[in-house]
Subunit: 205 residues, 2 copies
Amino acid sequence: MTPQKTIERISLYRRVVSDLLAKGKNRAYSHEIAKLAGVKSSQVRHGFMFIGTNGKANSGYDLRELQGRIEGFLTADKPDSYCIVGIGNLGRAVLAFFHARHKNLEIKAAFDKDPALKNRVFHGCRCYSIDDAKEVIRKEGISLGIIAVPAEQAQAVAQILIEAGIRGIVNFAPVPLKLGQGIVVENVDLAMYLEKVAFFTRNVS
Amino acid sequence: MTPQKTIERISLYRRVVSDLLAKGKNRAYSHEIAKLAGVKSSQVRHGFMFIGTNGKANSGYDLRELQGRIEGFLTADKPDSYCIVGIGNLGRAVLAFFHARHKNLEIKAAFDKDPALKNRVFHGCRCYSIDDAKEVIRKEGISLGIIAVPAEQAQAVAQILIEAGIRGIVNFAPVPLKLGQGIVVENVDLAMYLEKVAFFTRNVS
DNA sequence: TGTAAATTGTTAAAAGATTAACGCTGCTAA
DNA sequence: TTAGCAGCGTTAATCTTTTAACAATTTACA
């Protein structure tokens, strides 16, 4: 199984590779990719082992092929899709960040309890009432969810999503969710990152 | 030196402890804290070694004292402060998340290049022109920065911040920043988390 | 063609993080 | 007041991740 950290880096490489291609480059060495991604070249090569490597000694990697391999590795053949619950500032920011960027991975529906938002479209994503979550999720075949609601509501929202068939959750609410076995969760705790940087800046290396 | 992961968990415990206190509880066992934080009890006890422990065998931790120790450990005696650059959706979300929550750690100034935002106050934080960054940062004694601008501008913003004396950065722009030695950076890549969860949901445990 | 220089893919070593284990302390109740 | 239990603090073992090392391969060029 590919380690978590390796997956995170591969996602980074995806962006680096696509930037290089956009600049008209066709090939790159592991140390070039590493520099741009802010990691070690040995990490790049090591990571590429998981996706099946395509480098040539002394002439690096074909970027177009590499891009294809990374996409194929990170996303499935059949497209996966997300829904997002909570269209506050954070929800909108996530939609903006993610909109139309990813092959086979898309945010297909948004939910909010504010009726004023119903049927509005944010970054290409229509907002539904949270009461229709189960129905919409089933109809659209959505399997992943993003929780961007206040902490108090996060657990309840998670429950709704899971009952509707969601198997993986990115949780921005600053509470650890209690979920059954087999559900993948990634907690992204914004305030925690600020504390962490404050700590390590004070207690310098 | 305290490991990164331990710091992240201690930040979590801070919240758990404060929730328990808010519920009127005075003491808790390591396994109770662990349950609420979604970690192992041995991790809790192990982590507490770094902050100086105050448990009593068979009767757990005094929560008020624990709270004090955690605050004292995570933040300095002298208050540290952040500025944030970019008051789009994400910037506002971060301000909302963090506002008035933390002892000795505060977001004291916001910057944006949009003149319409100048002097407006968001969640208790005044917005200045990015052109005044250096001056405001010096005057307010700010040492930490949050970058919440589009990817293209992130590196330039980082440069400005560092020249103004910032030593630690939380970077929400999806590009690795190139910074000199001794600057602490935490990259928080929202889109990456979505890819990661998609991956691990598909390639189940 | 053959030699030198550079970079890959992979394996092995080092570093870092998590988990388990356990002696010791303090509480409870006979 | 002592026996038994429960939970703390710490150390040691396991597991994961990162880094380094190097043989094998490719290119460049004499």
